[in-house]
């Protein structure tokens, strides 16, 4: 694969989209399928069924994709240079993890223009856990000159199920990485399209208004009554779909992914309620537990499908 030259607007150090395209090309060259973002609100790339569900069962799987991530609580009305309620993650999942995954990861950094003889790359302990997905793994935060640019995780358990084999998951925080590569202080200052002058489009042009509007919505106006109701409805529907999709006679399941969508909906409703500050600490635990139960049930059903490796 040949990197575009540094005058190219699509060079990873010149544009946000150039960074995305470079990572996609890099991982495509390593045999990954390049998926597109999942069309639902999720808090992290891990929630994409291309990771959560596909990391379960014995079948090999390699995929990479961008996932818009919504973290209602992290909204700062667009005023904080580093915190957004909506941002992009670049997600790579390799099952089983290849023995040289660290080397591959470092090569991907080199591909986006990070010179390992100039920059201090570090693997700092991070025990990753996603309580709503019932998932955990061991790995690191990857630091470049003191900045966390990626999460590197060897999945041990997903949806409460032991991973066999283990997947390696890489999550690149695209905005932060791009700030670094473009040498700008604020995410809003990122050059999105790599053009200059009148043709230049910044991250601000694309997302500032959205950050302001959604911060208002997340913190002040989201209808909590409706959200509580939606949480319950999604929970009920998830369970209903898991029940009606179960083909017990053949030990198969026929409707895991629609059920999983409802699990994601419940999770997002919970995140919004949490941002609105209407969930107390004790209740919080019980909501997390309820979503986790849904995720676990979906994971167990997944193992009864073709892609989940059912015989």
């Amino acid at each position: 694969m040949s990197a575009p030259d540094s005058n190219d607007p699509l060079h990873p150090t010149r544009s946000f989209q150039g960074l995305i395209l470079t990572l996609q090309r890099f991982w495509a060259a390593e045999g990954c399928v390049i998926l597109q973002p999942y069309d639902m609100e999720v808090g992290a790339g891990t929630s994409h069924p291309g990771t959560t569900l596909r990391s379960l069962g014995p079948k090999p799987w390699k995929a990479a994709y961008v996932q818009p991530s919504r973290r209602p609580k992290d909204g700062r009305y667009g005023e904080n240079p580093n915190r957004l309620q909506h941002y992009y993650q670049f997600q790579v999942i390799l099952k089983p993890n290849p023995p040289d995954l660290q080397e591959l990861y470092l090569r991907s950094l080199a591909a986006i223009g990070i010179d390992m003889r100039l920059h201090d790359i570090r693997f700092v302990e991070d025990d990753w856990e996603n309580p709503t997905l019932g998932a955990w793994g061991l790995g690191w935060e990857c630091w470049c000159d003191g900045m966390e640019v990626s999460q590197f995780t060897y999945f041990q358990q997903v949806a409460g199920i032991e991973c066999a084999p283990v997947s390696g998951e890489l999550t690149y925080g695209l905005e932060r990485l791009a700030c670094y590569l473009q040498n700008v202080e604020s995410i809003m200052d990122l050059n999105f399209n790599g053009r200059e002058g009148a043709e230049k489009v910044t991250y601000r042009d694309v997302f500032l208004q959205a950050e302001q509007e959604y911060s208002r919505y997340n913190f002040e106006h989201a209808n909590t009554e409706a959200l509580f109701r939606r949480f319950r409805e999604a929970e009920e529907e998830c369970r209903a779909l898991l029940a009606s999709g179960a083909d017990d006679a053949n030990k198969r399941h026929l409707m895991v992914q629609p059920a999983y969508d409802q699990c994601l909906k419940a999770g997002h409703a919970f995140n919004l309620l949490d941002a609105r500050g209407v969930i107390s600490v004790t209740e919080r635990q019980s909501y997390i537990l309820r979503v986790r139960e849904l995720a676990k049930a979906c994971g167990a059903a997944w193992l009864l499908t073709d892609a989940g490796g059912a015989a």
Binding site: P58, R76, N80, P81, N82, R83, P96, N97, P98, P99, Q102, M116, R117, L118, H119, D120, I121, R122, F123, V124, E125, D127, G137, L138, G139, W140, C144, D145, G146, M147, Y154, Q156, C163, A164, P165, V166, G168, C179, Y180, E185, F219, E220, G277, S280, V281, T282
Partner: protein, 714 residues
């Protein structure tokens, strides 16, 4: 004698696990060697982020041979038995066995089997894989294709290679032949991840260390720490700064790099308006960098020391720039928290409540649970407020001010800053309280009410802080006692021992006069749980007395004297009790004290014997008229002396003059001595005898007003 060199090279090991892992490796391998009869001269383990290394020197080349005796059948046993014996003992014919004569059993066969010791590498090839497979990592993982099957190798992070050689220092060593889950032991390793390329062939430990150094790996954690400290001090000093020492951070950073390179960076001085503790917490927790103070002023500087893992081509300029960018972003976050926390909350827009009071309201509204059986944090705050109000006058504080401090004490728990840096609880409360114009003593109490955090932490001394700190701890203690969550053995999840010691130190070091029993009673009354208050209070008091005993003993007080005072009822005024212990110690060091103690013991001995003989006690007091009518002179003197002493002691105790009480007791001494010299206690006249025994009992009772002399040792 040959040496063993073992290196387990893996992906990055968490810094906090490294030191323990090196110790574990050494212990597990050397224990196994000794168990296999392989004594060694010395062993040392080393650790970097990417390798665990063990060197064992002076091992024998092979295990010693062992001789084993196996008893066989008696001589002349059936052939089948003989054949079975030959087979099991590995003998070719019965001629190879010895014949032993036993006086009871007669003659029987014995096979002497000489088992040759195995060569050490063969033993190591068993030991090392077993150690690796059973290694006690606090958390371990599976990885790769092998993890599809159950039982695959677990390690802290994927294990990449194993170097394991054995041989004399002067010769090329042999590779110990083994393989674990596809990883074959070799005599190769690798250097620094970025500053070295290709495999390194290892010949001896010295060469190994040398080669690693050349490949930019400092094998020894302590050496890395030493270099970091030295370089950091040099750089800071040269620019007029001093490092704020931080051993925990140094240990961690030493575990994050194989080749430490110290660099200095700076941030915008405008951030220094944020409290220094916040800047330090931010830079330390997120960036693992050291903060500096200006040598001239001692104040925090807008500089930080970072430790990178590479020698960069540009001398580290890009690395410093990158770290500065992150520090800037983090400080910008911290400043955002700092400013946000001092502004109204959205749900209180237009409210007249001050910022910290709004946080308190939010805390209440959130119904944050303190403990499922002890209710919400809000309810707990209310209890602490009323306790602090009650304690305030006893500590010399204004009740309203103490109540205000108690009201705000936990409000910072819902601030953004404490959410981000929990270790700043209390401190942020102080800052925010000052910012909204609270009384300085209120602000100080908010910070100090968590203190003292342990035996070496400082104890608050300002009246409001003392009242609040006591209220906080007493509510905690009473609460967990009431729900029977007391510390057991090494388990003390709610740090109740520390809380009890805190209560003790707050009272003693401030000379506070409080009846703990009453305060505990009040704390129990306020709880949302019902309990047998008398029993719970007594149990908690005795727990506190135990902690006090430990505390005083550590300070050199005599254990038996503490016990002698605490044997009396109602010793819940710790300050008075401790003064009494001191007075008792001084008294017993005088001749009068020592003799009175001897007299006391003599009296009690006689009493015990006679009471046993008669099967009754001699309580009830002396019949004075009988003494006057028929008693001897010395008896009269003692009875009168006891009357006088009792009166003086009672008076002295009432005004808490324990020295005077002891002096009054001491005045008894000549009368007691004279009584024992001249008076026969066991008189023939039964009435006189009983009355004299009652006199001894009165003497015992007189001493009991100051302490239980019966538990004094020596």
């Amino acid at each position: 004698m040959p040496d063993l060199l073992l290196e387990l090279r893996s992906e990055e090991i968490p810094a906090r696990m490294q030191r323990k892992a090196a110790e574990d490796l050494k212990k597990l391998v050397t224990d196994a060697l000794v168990e296999q009869g392989l004594a060694y001269e010395g062993a040392r383990a080393y650790v970097t982020p990417r390798r665990l290394t063990l060197q064992v020197v002076g091992l024998p080349a092979r295990q010693p041979d062992v001789e084993e005796e196996r008893k066989g059948p008696r001589v002349g046993a059936p052939d089948a038995a003989i054949q079975g014996f030959l087979k099991s003992a590995g003998l070719n014919s019965i001629e190879e066995a010895d014949i032993v004569a036993d006086p009871k059993k007669g003659e029987f066969y014995v096979a002497r089997i000489r088992r040759e010791g195995r060569k050490t590498p063969a033993v190591l090839a068993d030991i090392v894989p077993a150690v690796v497979r059973g290694f006690p990592w606090p958390k371990s993982m599976r990885w790769g294709a092998a993890s599809a099957e159950p039982g695959s190798l677990r390690w802290v992070r994927p294990l990449q290679s194993i170097l394991c050689t054995f041989g004399p220092e002067t010769e090329t060593p042999d590779v110990v032949p083994f393989e674990i889950d596809g990883i074959v032991a070799s005599d190769e390793t690798r250097g620094h991840r970025f500053l070295s390329q290709g495999p390194i062939l290892v010949r001896s430990f010295e060469k190994y260390v040398e080669a690693l150094e050349k490949s930019h790996v400092v094998l020894d954690l302590d050496e890395r720490k030493r270099r970091i400290e030295a370089d950091a001090n040099t750089i800071a000093f040269a620019q007029g700064y001093e490092i704020v020492p931080d051993e925990g951070l140094l240990e961690e950073v030493g575990g994050l790099v194989e080749w430490p390179v110290v660099l200095i960076g700076s941030f915008d001085a405008a951030y220094l308006q944020v409290p220094p503790e916040v800047i330090r917490a931010t830079i330390r927790a997120n960036q693992k960098c050291f903060v500096l103070t200006k040598r001239s002023t001692g104040k925090l500087a807008n500089k930080f020391i970072l430790i990178s893992n590479i020698e960069a081509r540009d001398g580290g300029a890009a690395i410093v720039a990158g770290n500065e960018r992150v520090v800037r972003a983090r400080l910008s976050d911290a400043r955002f928290f700092w400013e946000t926390d001092q502004k109204p909350l959205p749900e209180f827009a237009g409210s007249s409540l001050k910022p910290l009071d709004q946080r308190l309201e939010r805390l209440k509204a959130l119904n944050i649970v303190f403990h499922e059986k002890l209710g919400t944090q809000a309810a707990r705050i209310e209890r602490i407020v009323s306790l602090a109000r009650r304690i305030a006058p006893l500590a010399g504080a204004d009740a309203d001010i103490a109540a205000r401090a108690a009201t705000l004490a936990k409000a910072d728990l819902v601030t953004e800053m404490v959410g981000e840096f929990p270790e700043l609880q209390g401190l942020m409360g102080r800052y925010y309280a000052l910012a909204q114009g609270e009384d300085a003593s209120v602000a100080a109490a908010i910070e100090e009410h968590y203190k003292p955090q342990g035996p070496s932490d400082s104890v608050p001394s300002s009246a409001v802080s003392v009242a609040l700190a006591l209220a906080d701890k007493l509510d905690t203690l009473a609460g967990f006692w009431a729900i029977d969550e007391k510390p057991t053995g090494s388990k003390d999840p709610f740090a109740l021992r520390r809380a009890a010691l805190g209560v003790i130190r707050l009272i003693l070091e401030n000379g506070l006069r409080v009846r703990l029993g009453e305060l505990i009673g009040a704390a129990l009354d306020a709880l949302p749980v019902s309990s047998d208050k008398t029993a719970v209070s007594a149990d908690l008091l005795s727990f506190i007395a135990d902690r006090l005993t430990v505390y005083l003993r550590d300070k050199g007080a005599r254990h038996d004297l503490i016990a002698a005072v605490f044997a009396l009822d109602g010793q819940d005024d710790l300050t008075a009790a401790v003064r009494r212990v001191e007075a008792l110690g001084t008294f017993l060091e005088t001749d009068d004290g020592a003799n009175l103690l001897a007299g006391y013991r003599r009296a009690v001995n006689i009493l015990r014997i006679e009471e046993k003989k008669d099967g009754r006690t001699f309580s009830g007091g002396v019949d004075a008229s009988l003494v006057l009518a028929r008693g001897e002179e010395q008896e009269k003197v003692l009875v009168e002396a006891l009357r006088v002493a009792n009166e003086s002691v009672r008076e002295a105790i009432a005004r808490e003059d324990f020295e005077a009480a002891m002096r009054a007791l001491a005045a008894l001494r000549p009368a007691v001595d004279a009584f024992f010299d001249a008076v026969t206690v066991n008189a023939d006249d039964a009435d006189l005898r009983a009355n004299r025994l009652r006199t001894l009992d009165a003497l015992r009772l007189a001493t009991l007003t100051v302490a239980d002399f019966g538990v004094i040792g020596g």
